[in-house]
Amino acid sequence: MSEKTIEMTCVVCPIGCNLKVTMDGNGKFLSVTGNKCLKGAIYAKEEVTEPKRILPTNIKVVGGELPLVSVRTEKPIPKKLLFEAMEVIRTFKVKAPVKRGQILIKNLLGTGVNVIATRTVKMDKGT
């Protein structure tokens, strides 16, 4: 089977190590060089196997001082699910008050990852 080597930049921390990742003919991860730490090796493996991303976005708030609460997935989710995740998140509404860290969507798309509020939104005093 023919091996393949690709180059990528690790984005785990600001150093941005230049990684060389080797995969087999089926695209399966074999090895990585160029990383200064273990996180880079994990990142490289994930990137070629099942790339993951944290998804930051907003959820609509009802009766709050702000119309939206900023949210994110607690952990990275598979990159290929990002748009589907957005479709689900779009359908949600939350009533104020919202607390930072509050779980707003449990187990997004069966990934086991929750969507949490990343800020506090108080109730709108005017309403």
Binding site: G16, N18, S70, L82, M86, T118
Partner: protein, 407 residues
């Protein structure tokens, strides 16, 4: 006219200002924050993406989380919100501030300038054509989307590959706006590599280097732009291409905000407040930290700068004798920006620099000594290092340079 007096007055409650509050409080100074918005946080409130706090909280957080978590550390300061400084009289150490409660004259023992930066507006580029609606700076578009719950348009192009533009390319794409591409006039990217990967490559948004806009079309609302290849800042005739779009997001540079003090303190050629390793400006009781010193990439660095500025401001306010400047930094070959211009050579301090062009391998040198080697050095990625006066001679003129080498 109401009169107030504080040891340390901090202008701006964004990341740097909050850091300064913490620093000043740690010295038991009386602290007043003057903030023009209704709350602290500055741009952190609209930066809902992750990438904040890796150093300060050892976690990767979003802007709002960073803001709230840091705010929890701050107790015992006074604040004026929706208040704007009209005038600074550095000789009398007086600020004139206006708010809905009237005019205030505030005397400070020491002042910390944490006024951040503004975005360069698209209009400043003098691009020919019409002047329709639909043109936004990336930060303004971010404000509309994340805080006002409004989309700027339906089909966008991004001019400039600065970080805010890259972030907005992703943000808009995730909300169903078509982002046709990102256009960068230089032959290299303007923002962090992690953003090029996670905002553009992830979404197949093309990054066109050495390309920028040469004409704007549309009478009332934007209808499109003409782009062309650029060499050395000049468009290449014959390479023009029309792109239909209704939204232009401009991410073409950040400018330090020092308009209140540009007659009072030394300002660098790039518009930043000139400071020494104590974060002290050319006036002994005025300190500065954050984007109004030099444009930063990571909020964690800004927080550290702010804490230092706040601490030292408090020491000055309490009439502590502060060390004098003994060394002056000069930008040598290969360096575009340095964050600190003078040193007291008393304690180790952090310096941030940017190289002036991408280098495969950059060797940072302090005078004739090699300091640090950086792989993949780019102007868009700030380089951090610590200068220890016991390890390097920091007296007199000190040249910082970056020499290119091949691996």
């Amino acid at each position: 006219m109401k009169r107030l007096e504080y040891d340390v007055v901090i202008l701006g409650g964004g990341a740097a200002g909050m850091g300064a509050i913490r620093g000043a409080l740690s010295q038991n100074a009386s602290v007043l924050l003057v903030e023009r918005e209704a709350s602290t946080g500055g741009v952190l409130n609209q930066c809902i993406h992750n990438g904040f706090g890796v150093r300060v909280f050892k976690k990767e957080l979003t802007g709002p989380e960073y803001h709230e978590m840091y705010l929890e550390k701050l107790k015992g300061f006074d604040a004026m919100y929706e208040a704007t400084v009209l005038d600074i009289d550095s000789e009398s150490r007086l600020l004139k501030v206006i708010s809905a409660s009237g005019i205030y004259k505030i005397r400070y023992g020491a002042l910390v300038l944490a006024t951040g930066a503004r975005e360069r507006p698209f209009e400043a580029l003098r691009v020919p054509g019409s002047r329709p609606s639909g043109i936004f700076t990336a930060g303004l578009a971010q404000h509309f989307v994340n805080l006002e719950n409004r989309l700027p348009g339906r089909k966008a192009i991004v001019i400039g590959s600065g970080d805010i533009g890259l972030i907005m390319a992703r943000r808009l794409t995730l909300e169903g706006v078509e982002v046709e591409g990102v256009y960068e006039i230089m032959p290299y990217q303007g923002g962090l590599t992690r953003n090029v990967v996670q905002c553009l490559k992830d979404f197949n948004i093309p990054l066109h280097l050495s390309t920028s806009v040469v004409k704007v079309h549309g009478k009332e609302r934007l209808e499109g732009v003409t782009v062309a290849k650029f060499i050395d800042g000049n468009p290449v005739s014959g390479t023009e291409r029309f792109i239909g779009c209704d939204t232009l997001i401009a991410s073409v540079g950040l400018i330090p905000e020092n308009d209140l003090v540009d007659k009072e303190i030394e300002i660098s050629s790039s518009g930043g407040a000139v400071v020494d390793d104590l974060m002290r400006t050319s006036v002994d009781n005025i300190f500065a930290a954050g984007n109004n010193v030099c444009i930063h990439d990571l909020v964690d660095f800004v927080t550290v700068e702010g804490e230092g500025a706040g601490q030292n401001a408090a020491r000055v306010a309490k009439k502590e004798k502060m060390p004098k400047r003994v060394g002056i930094f000069k930008k040598g070959k290969g360096i575009r920006v340095i964050s600190i211009h003078y040193t007291t050579a008393t304690i180790p301090f952090k310096m941030y620099v940017r190289v002036d062009h991408p280098m495969d391998m950059a060797i940072l040198r302090i005078n004739d000594t090699n300091l640090k080697t950086v792989l993949n050095a780019k102007p868009s990625e700030m380089i951090e290092f610590t200068l220890d006066p016991t390890k390097y001679n920091l007296k007199g003129e000190i040249e910082l340079s970056a020499v290119e080498a091949k691996r």
